[in-house]
Amino acid sequence: MKPLNIVGSRVIRVDGKAKVKGEAIYPQDIYLDGMLYGKTIRSTKVHAMIEVDTKKAETVEGVVKILTYKDVTGENHHGVVFKDHEVFCSKKVRRIGDPIAFVIANSERVAKKAAEMIEIKYKELPAVFNPIDAMKEDSIKIHGDSNIIYHYKCRKGNVNEGFEKSHVIVEREYKTSMVEHAFLQPEAGVSYIDEEGKICVCASTQYPHFDQIEVAEALGLKLENVKIMNPAVGGAFGGREDITLQIHLALATMVTKKPVKVVYTREESFHAHSKRHPIIMKYKTGADKNGKLLSMEVNLIGDTGSYASWAINVMRKAGIHATGPYEIPNVKIDSYAVYTNNPFCGAMRGFGATQTPIGSEQQMDIIANELGIDPIQIRLINGFKVGSETSNGQVLSESVPLKRCIEEVKNRMFKE
C-alpha cells in the first residue's frame, strides 16, 4: 500500500484560512442585486385551528407578496421520514413556532412591519405535553389516529429467568430534558434564479441532496430544476437536518422571480429547528453476587413533540444502546416515539445514544454500591470486548478497546 498523505499527518483544514480571516461566506454574508427580504410568521399557540388574513399587511408599502399555504405550487409538506410538516400550516398549528406565512418585501424593515400586521385568528384546541398521557387511547391526537409513531422491541434470552437468578435488582426511573443545539450561526439563506432558469437556494444545511428533493416536491418542479448550495455552515449538530427556510425561499423566488434573503434571529432559530428528544427511561437491572450483569429490562418513551423528524431512527438507536457497552445475557427493551404539542425533536449529537447512558451508567453505579464493588471494577467485569454480543445480537468481531480505555483513565485519574 502506498503511504497515506493525509491520514496520520497534520494538515490545515481547507476552509481554515478563510475562516480565520473572516472571508468564509455563510449564507447571511451573501448580498445580491435587487434582493428582496423575507420574514416568517409563526404560530404563537400550541394547538389551534387557524384563519389567516393578510389583506392589511399587503397594503404596507414595499410588500411584494405574502405567501401562505395557498401559494404552495406542489405538495404542501416536507419531513425527513414522514411528510408530517406543512410548508405553511393550512388549517391547524401543532406547536409554538409552526410557520404560517412568509412576507416578501423590499427591505427587512418593511417585511417585519408587515409581518406584525398579518391577522391570525386562533381557535384553540386542547393540547398534550406529557408523552405518557399522549400514548393513551383517549388522548387528543396530534396527527392521524395515534400519537405512538414507533415501537422498537428488543428481546434476548429470558429476562424473568435472569432476574430470578440475580442477587441484586435495581429499579429506577430517569428523565432527560429537551436540548437545543444552539449552533452559533442562526439559519439564513438566499435564493435566486440562475442563467439556466433553475431555482437556487444557498442555505447552511446538513442535507443538500435531501433538501433538493423536498424543495422540488413542494414547488412541483423536476429535481434538476432545483439547486441547493451549501456555503460555510456555522455549526449544526443535527439541527440542520430538517427543512427550515429552504422551501420558503425557493417558493418566494419562484413567485417573484427575484433573489430573496432571509436571516433568522436567535429566537426564531430556537423556534425553527428540532431539539434533542427528552426520554423517560425505566430501568430494571439484575446482577449476581460478583457484579456480573444477568438481566435488564428497559422502557424508553421519547417525546418527539409535534413532528416526527428522525424520531424513529433516534428511538431505535436509543433502544439499541440502552444496555450501555455491557454484556447482558437477558434483555428486554421497548422504545417508543410519541407525538405531543411540544417543540419537535430530531437529530442531535448522538442521535438517541446520548440519553440512555444517563440511565444505564447510574444503574451500574447503584449496583456496584449495593454489592460493595468498585464502580470501575463492575464496568471492567461487564464491558464489551472482542467477541461480545450486543443486545440486538451483533457480535463485535474487532476493535473494542473499552477496557483499555477505562484502565487508562483510571491510571491517569488516580495516579499518586
Binding site: Y26, Q185, A232, V233
Partner: protein
C-alpha cells in the same frame, strides 16, 4: 439620518446612517465587512466582537452613530491580503477553528488581550475570551492557540 466619520481598519469613512442602525449593520450591510458575525444580537455570544478605540465591544450593542470619531478594527483589518497574523496562524496550527462562526470574534478578543498582556496565563486567556461563545471546539484548543500566539509574538519582538 446621521452623518458620521470614523476610521475602520486604518481607512477613513464618512457615511450616512439611520438612527436605528447598529454598528454591526453598518459594518455588514453598508460596508460589506461580513467577517463580523451576528450570533445573538443581544450581547451574549461575542461573534460580533470588534475592537473600538482599543477595547473589545459587541458591535450588536453599539449604535452606528455612537461610533462617530472612533477607531475600529474588524477581522478584515487583522492582516493583509494573503498574510496571517500570528494569532490567526496559531488558530490554524492548533485546530482551534471548526465551523468558524465564532472565530473572527475570538481572534479579535485574543488580539485585544495580547495587546495589553503579552504573556497571559491560561486563566487570563480564559478570562480574555469569556465574552465569546464557541459551540464547536470546547475552548481548549482556542486557549492553546492563544498561548502559542503569545509565545510567537514575544519571540518575534526579541528578534
Amino acid at each position: 439620518m446621521n452623518h458620521i466619520s470614523l476610521t475602520i481598519n486604518k481607512k477613513m469613512y464618512s457615511i450616512d446612517v439611520e438612527e436605528d442602525v447598529r454598528l454591526i449593520d453598518l459594518l455588514r450591510d453598508q460596508l460589506f465587512l461580513t467577517g463580523t458575525k451576528e450570533g445573538c444580537g443581544e450581547g451574549e455570544c461575542g461573534a460580533c466582537t470588534v475592537i473600538m478605540d482599543g477595547r473589545v465591544v459587541n458591535s450588536c450593542l453599539v449604535m452606528a452613530f455612537q461610533a462617530e470619531g472612533s477607531n475600529i478594527t474588524t477581522i478584515e483589518g487583522m492582516s493583509d491580503k494573503d498574510e496571517l497574523h500570528p494569532i490567526q496562524k496559531a488558530f490554524l496550527d492548533k485546530g482551534a477553528v471548526q465551523c468558524g462562526f465564532c472565530t473572527p470574534g475570538m481572534v479579535l478578543s485574543a488580539k485585544s488581550l495580547l495587546d495589553k498582556n503579552e504573556n497571559p496565563t491560561r486563566e487570563e486567556i480564559r478570562e480574555g475570551i469569556s465574552g465569546n461563545l464557541c459551540r464547536c471546539t470546547g475552548y481548549n484548543k482556542i486557549v492553546d492557540a492563544i498561548e502559542l500566539a503569545s509565545k510567537e509574538i514575544r519571540e518575534e519582538k526579541k528578534e
